[in-house]
């Protein structure tokens, strides 16, 4: 066995140019595979982050049916009880929201928006909107003044500036249209222009006034879990402890099934990529290894005469292929890791495609991400594909008739 490893390794260097071409080809394929995985995983992470940070945390508690049909008539009753139970777990941060569709009006323009009432002190723990303020500040904790925070893009669209007033209108629980004037205290900008154009924030007290909720009512309770706490298990646990038939407890996976599916689809695309690139390489590998076995036909005969079994001849060629793949993977992988690390530090600027990307809910600056699980899967496939390619030459070599091989010079 060890002698076969020795022979396989040394055989690589008998025709270094040929081997280096193979190694380079493999390195190129490994590099493009890693680049693509990092790019796609960067996308996924970003979209999952935005689903968690902007749109409801790891887990969201609401009235039953709210997710399918978000109206103010579906709310969390006796929210104090819900808060008390959630607060029992120190590893969960949470905040209450009220949410209603409404209309925003400036002096010249109107637009449909989602009006969310938040408790500014708690909200910063579950949402990244406060961190995304680019002008002005977040809502004051007291909630006494009529203040609103909105996306910078929406302000631009409405032609209003920080400090100016806008009118918000929404139906209240009695189906009366409520309206109020609010001063813009902060403008934010997130990754997603769609999000920015449709979400405005009031203090919880102000929003409750607008839609006629009491202090015992809220649309949603958004939960953010410390790392190490599994969303699915936590959701199941809450289901039993809250024990309320009129509540809905959804993890981000359940709220964004399309995101989950999109991830699966992109991973599938990566698998196709690996298969295509390595099929292309297979042609080179097969050709090179056929040449290799015909060049070495005599020594294979000598080995066979000396008692090397056919399986060992195959093994020797597989080992040679594995060494070449390992070298190619090392070279391509090293270059890829350096480049991806650099990329993920500076970000990949895709702003030329900004509107297109935001229709996916993706940002225009992408940070590639190395997901070791996906990379490992790819490598396993690469090895399988390479060994399949070498199968034909290896089997052929092991079937040489010993006499013919020895007579061959």
């Amino acid at each position: 066995m060890s002698i076969l490893i020795k022979i396989a390794w040394r055989n690589i260097w008998r025709n270094p140019r040929r081997s280096w071409v193979l190694i380079t080809a493999l390195a190129v394929a490994v590099f493009s595979f890693l680049g693509s995985v990092a790019y796609i995983d960067g996308f996924s992470i970003q979209m999952i982050d935005s689903a968690i940070n902007l749109q409801g945390g790891h887990i969201q508690v609401s009235g039953r049916g709210y997710h399918k049909n978000p109206t103010i008539r579906t709310y969390v009753p006796d929210v104090a009880r819900v808060e008390r139970i959630i607060a029992e777990n120190d590893a969960i941060r949470y905040a209450l929201q009220t949410t209603t569709p409404g209309m925003i009006n400036s002096a010249e323009q109107a637009s449909g928006v989602v009006i969310t009432g938040v408790d500014p002190v708690r909200e910063v723990e579950v949402s990244s909107v406060a961190e995304s303020i680019i002008e002005g500040s977040y809502l004051a904790p007291e909630g006494e003044a009529n203040e609103v925070v909105m996306g910078a893009m929406l302000a631009e669209q409405l032609n209003v500036l920080l400090g100016e007033k806008v009118v918000l209108m929404a139906n209240d629980l009695d189906n009366e249209v409520g309206a109020g004037a609010y001063r813009i205290v902060g403008l934010y900008r997130t990754n997603s222009s769609d999000f920015d154009k449709t979400n405005v924030y009031l203090h919880l007290n102000q929003a409750r006034n607008l839609i006629g909720y009491t202090a015992e009512q809220a649309s949603t309770v958004t939960l953010r879990l410390d790392p190490g706490l599994d969303p699915v298990e936590t959701a199941i646990h809450l289901q039993t402890t809250l024990d309320a038939a009129d509540l809905e407890i959804l993890t981000w996976h359940e709220r964004s099934p399309l995101l989950v599916m999109m991830n699966e689809m992109m991973n599938l695309a990566n698998i196709f990529l690996v298969i295509i690139l390595f099929t292309a390489i297979a042609f080179t590998l097969i050709n090179s290894f056929i040449m290799v076995i015909f060049e070495r036909i005599r020594e294979i005969g000598i080995m066979s005469a000396n008692g090397v079994r056919p399986g060992q001849v195959r093994l020797m060629l597989y080992l040679e292929a594995v060494f070449i793949v390992l070298l190619g993977t090392a070279v391509g992988g090293a270059i890829a890791v350096v480049l991806i690390t650099w990329w993920s530090a500076v970000g990949l600027d895709l702003s030329a495609f900004a509107e297109g990307l935001s229709s996916f809910g993706a940002a225009s600056v992408l940070y590639p991400y190395i997901h070791w699980g996906h990379i490992l899967n790819g490598f396993v496939m690469i090895f399988v594909l390479v060994l399949l390619a070498v199968l034909y030459p290896a089997v052929k070599a092991s079937r040489f008739e010993t006499v013919d091989a020895i007579n061959h010079v």
Binding site: T71, M103, L357
Partner: protein, 411 residues
């Protein structure tokens, strides 16, 4: 030369397996690239057509500045032009319809939601777009309708109303006049665009003008041309005729930059992938050519000693490769062409979750479509030929250094 060609042809088949593998690699790459291109062109072409037909139509005329601001102060007036006959002189204009669009808050007995109100001319809208034509419940609007609306399916669901119910709409109209009115729901529309379904409230133009206090005014003139791909040039002609001061004329491409950008982003990704793939083919060609040359050193030595010049031998080797490349390209194209000719008329349907996903992205598609346009072959042809020629440089340079004596000494 023909003798050389004959010799080259024979040499290809002397090592049949090797030649076939090299050609196989090229054919494989060509098929992958052309097919990807075919899907890319086919699907985006079909999608663009559907999206254009759905709402924006080929081009629109607005008051200059409307596209960026989208406020009612950028409206146009009936009396500005003889709109009815203005477009008659352009034979490529097939249909024209006017719209007034603005925002409102729609409320039912139980709920309220923001709505995009689109006032249309029921007689003509159907010939420029499709979104208001075919309600899946109820009926389309007719010219005589007053205080009647069609609702997007999701909007109706959110408002908890159906055909026969009524909704109240509240707006802040032109010059800040508040408007409110009651409308009967005549039909529900479902498009393949969730944004439309979530927000759309369609009413007769006259109703919209009344609601926004904008009698005789509208915000968009929607134009359908002969071929939506020519929209850019149509727009340029109309823009020149109407002048930039007063009017902006926008082709669909500029009204929906996201589709163009998605296409460009997709293309960028594809081309990076193509380049890597072709590079790998280049390695295959380089390796086999160089190895064959090394194996044939003696043979070349013999050729040289009977008077063949190194240049002719280089030419012979290049001919051999180019014959293989051309043959492989031809086979690859033929296979792809047959495949896409069949697939072209039979888009692969996209159903279930995948369809939802596309719709969520705002991609209106019927399925994965294939294009048989000749452009799908340009890149593979160019790239494979270039890479083959490039990979010949090293072997040919080596060849130059051969001398017959040296060549014959090597075994």
């Amino acid at each position: 030369m023909t003798k050389l060609l004959k010799l080259a042809w024979r040499d290809i088949w002397r090592n049949r397996r090797r030649s076939l593998l090299t050609m196989g690699a090229i054919i494989f790459a060509v098929i992958i690239i052309s097919l990807t291109n075919s899907v890319q062109y086919g699907t985006y072409d079909a999608m663009e057509e559907l999206v254009v037909r759905l709402y924006t139509s080929d081009l629109q005329v607005h008051r200059t500045g409307f596209q960026d601001e989208r406020t009612l102060s950028y409206s146009m007036e009936e009396s500005e032009q003889d709109w009815a006959s203005y477009f008659d002189e352009y034979p490529w204009i097939e249909a024209v319809s006017k719209r007034l669009t603005g925002f409102g808050l729609a409320s039912s007995d139980s709920s309220s939601a923001g709505a995009l109100i689109v006032g249309i001319e029921p007689e003509t809208e159907g010939s420029v777009s499709s979104f208001a034509n075919a309600p899946f419940e109820g009926r389309a609007l007719v010219a005589e309708d007053r205080q009647a609306v069609l609702l997007g399916a999701t909007l109706a669901h959110n408002l908890n109303v159906g055909v026969g119910d009524s909704v109240v709409v509240l707006t802040q109209g032109y010059r800040n006049v508040m408007g409110a009115d009651l409308y009967a729901v005549k039909g529900l529309v479902r498009t393949s665009n969730p944004d439309v379904d979530r927000a759309m409230m369609i009413m007769p133009l006259a109703d919209a003008q009344y609601l926004f206090s904008m009698e005789g005014r509208f915000t968009e003139v929607v134009i359908r041309g002969h071929d939506f791909r020519g929209a850019d040039s149509y727009a340029a002609v109309l823009q020149a005729a109407l002048g930039e001061e007063q009017y902006e004329v926008l082709p669909w491409r500029e009204m929906m930059p996201e589709i163009q950008q998605m296409r460009a982003l997709d293309d960028a990704g594809n081309y990076i992938f193509y380049i890597f793939l072709v590079l790998l083919i280049g390695f295959e060609i380089f390796n086999t050519t160089t190895m064959s040359m090394m194996e044939r050193v003696r043979e070349f030595g013999v050729m040289m000693s009977i008077g063949m010049k190194p240049r002719q031998i280089s030419l012979l080797v290049t001919l051999e490769l180019m014959l293989k490349v051309v043959l492989a390209l031809a086979i690859g194209f033929l296979i792809t062409f047959v495949a896409v000719s069949i697939l072209k008329d039979n888009p692969i349907p996209v159903t279930g979750e995948l369809q939802e996903l596309y719709e969520e992205w705002g991609f209106t598609i019927e399925g994965i479509s294939f294009s048989a346009r000749i452009v799908i072959f340009f890149f593979p042809m160019l790239a494979v030929t270039t890479v083959s020629l490039l990979s010949m440089i090293y072997p040919i340079l080596r060849m130059r250094r051969f001398s017959p004596v040296q060549a014959l000494r090597t075994t």
